[in-house]
Structure formats: structure tokens, C-alpha cells
Symmetry: C2
């Protein structure tokens, strides 16, 4: 028996992350109503028996539970609150789950609008990249009422290996901002360390090996450190996305009157990487900015 | 049968790290000749059947294999090359193993002197702190000839859970510098992220929990992140030591004409922490500099 048998779920945003997540919900037995800006991936989904809807509003009219997985804050605002957006069809039983990385202040605004229209809202951003999306092993950070997060939990557990209810609406996005700050800064840390090792005449691959299991060990050293050692920067997570997420965290800090000096520096380094024409590479390509010949 | 039965080992430097390491070698059956600047810990060791030597030179005269575990580069230079130092008693069968965190250039100089006197030299700095020293689970990064590292390996394996032969003399210290850069910067990353979370109204403990298993996960998030959440900054590794190691890595970078902007910023943050009077706290106390009320 599949865990989501018979459940109708709307899914908006079938990109690098959304597409494999949607396929996992389908495999778990959900009946999916999908919408995406570009058409080919929608055709792929309808060929698998899913139903296409012409607008976000039409998705929300057909499905009480709607997942939003779009690329940035303006896109989330358009899909939820814009013309033909979800808000046009929110009713008393609606549950909107935003799984993208959306600014905290925008999240709280959009949630208030959905709740004001009688619905429920959960922010449930993820970490784990396309690999985690495909394997259904994402790390999910949820914000919202206990009731709303409880209602979202069965389908979130299909998508992720770990689900934490962080706090109220927006707190999932706060956790994601914290996550992105750490990811960007740890990539910067591993990059400076491996570049230093190479300059000092040691083999960066051996140094990375030597650090495993010690205090310097991390998921980033494991995965992104290997990318730096091999020079294979196919994304994974793009440098432009990392830069956007850092800027979003810095915007949040500014609203709070809080200074994040290391995050500021890290964002500047990503600016340089992107200015050098490497924005579409994996974020681990940051080592190129530090370790020029 | 104990793995080091009958083997004579000299051990110089019985501080927070050296003392438990020495006890582990004793438990493994080695016959230990010890020397330390201050006396009480020497008395503790002789009470356990070890032999005290009055100088570093006397240690090297009594033991062909000598481990050095002192607090910084000047101390290592004094113990190895100073008056009554190891070099005064180095012979054809001598093996000097420096397990402290010593500058790369000083390491190469000291090693050349030992090798010039007919001995062998291994730099084998460690990561894992007092907890790893006590449990015999240190991460050990070794530099030296294949023969010398092979000779040191049986006793290093008593002290550590992981031993990597990084490369030639000094490459162990290069790996340790890389390790310390990553540790300092990742502590800074976790501190900025958890401080942001608290300012934004989320529970830092829940946020830390939410990030576990994702790309932001690390040994530092696990251990030092917990210290930041609980506000318990008993060391572990002291802020002053972290600052010294960062300065040493920056010295190495300067010698190489290599800029490490994030490491420079991180060292400045540690300077502020120490100026605020918190140098004896655990290095995770860095969050105090970022998250002032």
C-alpha cells in the first residue's frame, strides 16, 4: 500500500528540484495536479498520468494541498499572490506548502494572506540538492502551526529523510537562511584550506583525506571538497543560486540590524566568481577565485 | 598481548593533549621516558612506572623514538634544537615525531637538522582535541619519508583512529594548517548562522537540529554548535590556541604570496574575542563577538 494513495496534491514548479520531487509523490500514489511555466516537463508528467492545470489558481481550485517549488522570492510571490495565483482559489481546507527558498518577510506576508483567506500555510524549504530530491532524502525545515505542519508531514516524509518543525510561519525559511550561510561559508573555508595546501606543495587530495573524521570534517569537505580536488564543477547547486541565497540572508540580517561580516565577504567572493563568468558552475567553484595561478 | 610491549618511547610535553596520549602509550605496553617543564604531571607519570628524564636531550639519549607534544613553534624549536635539546643526542637510529602544531618552515628546518645528524623525522600533528587524545581516536596527519612514517605508524595507531601519510616532511603540518583554517571558519559560519536565527526569532537549538543531515552538517555544527546553543564554553580548544593556529596559517600563506581573505577576517574576529577577555573559553565562544545584545 502506497503512503499517499488517493491523496490529491497540487505541484507548482517542475524545475531541477521540483521535477524529481513530483515524481516521488507520484510513485507514492498521490494524484497530482501540476503546473509549470515551460511546457515540455508538463508533458512528461501528463504522460505519467498526472493532470496539467493552466494556472496556479487552477491548481489550487483542483487540489486542497498545493506545493510550491519555484526558483526565488519574486516567483513565489507571483505564484501565490499574483494574477491567477493560488490566493484566487484558497478556501477553508486549503494548505499551501512553499518548499522553495523564499525571503522570511515575504513568507510571513504570503502566509498571512493565505491564512486570512481561511487556508493554512507551511514554509518547508529543503537542503540536499538534486541528489536528495531524486532519492527522497531531502532535509526539510518546516515553519507553521502544529496543525498545518502535522497535515503536511505525510507528504513531506515522502520527499525527505529528515523533517524538523522549527517553529512558526517563517521559521523554516530562517533555518534555510542559516543553512545557506553555513554552506557558502564552509565552501569558502574548504576552498581556502585546500588552496593553501596546494600552494604549500602538499597534495590537496591527500590533505582532504587526512582531515576526514577530524573536527574539520563536513558534508561539504566530503562532496564539494572532492569537486575542488577533481576540478569537476558540474552543478549540483549553482554559484548564482548560492549568491542569491547569501544576499537574501544578508537582507534578513539588515532588516534585523545584525551584521554578518563573514557572510558579506563570502557574498563578495561569489560576486567575483560570477563576474569571472563562472556563475553556472557548482558553488564549489569558489576555489577558482582564491587559487588563481 | 599489548601492541607496544617492550618498546621504549620518549615523550616530551605532558600538557592537556600530551598527558592522555602518554597514558595511552603506557597502557599499550610501551616503556616511557618522559620530560615536562612543570613537575607535578611528571610525578604522576613516574608513579605509574614511567621514567623521568631531566632534559629533552636526556630523553633522546635514553629512547631512540621520541615524541614531542609541546604548545607552539618556539617551544618545539627549544625542545628539539635548543640547549639540552633532542638534537644533542640524535644518533643513527633516532626517530623524532613532532605531534604538536608547528610552523611548516620551522618543521622543515628542524627536520633537516635531525636528518643531518643521522636521524629520522616525522611531523604528525593531530585533530580531535582532548576528547580524542583521551579516547585514542585522534586524526593524525603525517609528513615524512615512507620509511620514517612506517616506523612511527605502530605507535601513532595507538594514539589515533585515523592516520594519513600526507607527503614529505612538513606536509603533515600543511594539512594541520588546512584543518585549523577550516575549523576556525566553520565555527565562524555556524556562529553567524545561529546568531541570525536567534535574531530572526527562531529557536537556535531547533535550527541546529533542522540542519543535521543536510549540506550544512559538520562535526563543528554537532559539537561546537551545541556549545553555542547551550552557552557552555568550557574548553575543548581554547580561543587563544585557535587564534595562534590561524595566525600561523596566515604566516605560511604570506610566505607563499597567497591571500586568504576569509581566514584573515576570522583571525580578526578571534582577536576581538580575546580582547574582550574570552581567550580562555572554547573557540566556539566566537558567537559572543557576533551576537552582542
Amino acid at each position: 500500500m502506497k503512503s499517499l494513495d488517493g491523496k490529491t496534491i497540487g505541484f507548482i514548479g517542475l524545475g531541477l528540484m521540483g521535477r524529481p520531487m513530483c515524481l516521488n509523490l507520484n510513485k507514492a500514489g498521490a494524484r497530482l495536479i501540476v503546473h509549470n511555466r515551460s511546457r515540455p516537463v508538463v508533458d512528461e508528467m501528463t504522460a505519467k498520468g498526472m493532470t496539467a492545470a493552466a494556472t496556479s489558481s487552477a491548481v489550487a481550485a483542483a487540489a486542497k494541498t498545493v506545493i510550491v517549488m519555484v526558483s526565488d522570492t519574486p516567483a513565489a510571490e507571483a505564484v501565490i499572490g499574483g494574477t491567477d495565483g493560488i490566493l484566487g482559489a484558497v478556501g477553508p481546507d486549503s494548505l499551501v506548502i512553499d518548499m522553495g527558498t523564499t525571503a522570511v518577510s515575504a513568507t510571513r506576508r504570503l502566509a498571512a494572506a493565505v491564512i486570512g483567506a481561511g487556508g493554512q500555510f507551511v514554509d518547508a524549504p529543503v537542503s540536499g540538492g538534486t541528489v536528495g530530491a531524486e532519492a527522497g532524502t531531502l532535509t526539510i525545515m518546516a515553519g507553521g502551526s502544529k496543525e498545518a505542519v502535522g497535515r503536511a508531514a505525510p507528504l513531506l516524509k515522502v520527499l525527505g529523510a529528515s523533517l524538523t518543525h522549527v517553529g512558526g510561519v517563517g521559521d523554516g525559511q530562517v533555518a534555510k537562511a542559516a543553512n545557506q550561510v553555513i554552506v557558502g561559508l564552509v565552501i569558502g573555508a574548504v576552498a581556502e584550506a585546500l588552496a593553501l595546501a596546494r600552494r604549500a606543495g602538499a597534495d590537496p587530495a591527500k590533505v582532504r583525506q587526512a582531515l576526514k573524521g577530524g573536527f574539520a570534517d563536513s558534508r561539504i569537505l566530503e562532496l564539494h571538497g572532492q569537486r575542488m580536488v577533481s576540478g569537476d564543477f558540474r552543478p549540483g547547486g549553482k554559484a548564482t543560486t548560492q549568491r542569491k541565497d547569501l544576499a537574501q540572508a544578508l537582507d534578513l540580517a539588515r532588516e534585523l540590524g545584525f551584521d554578518m561580516p563573514a557572510t558579506r565577504l563570502n557574498r563578495e567572493l561569489y560576486d567575483r566568481l560570477i563576474a569571472d563568468g563562472f556563475g553556472d558552475l557548482d558553488h564549489s567553484a569558489l576555489i577558482k577565485v582564491l587559487d588563481r595561478e
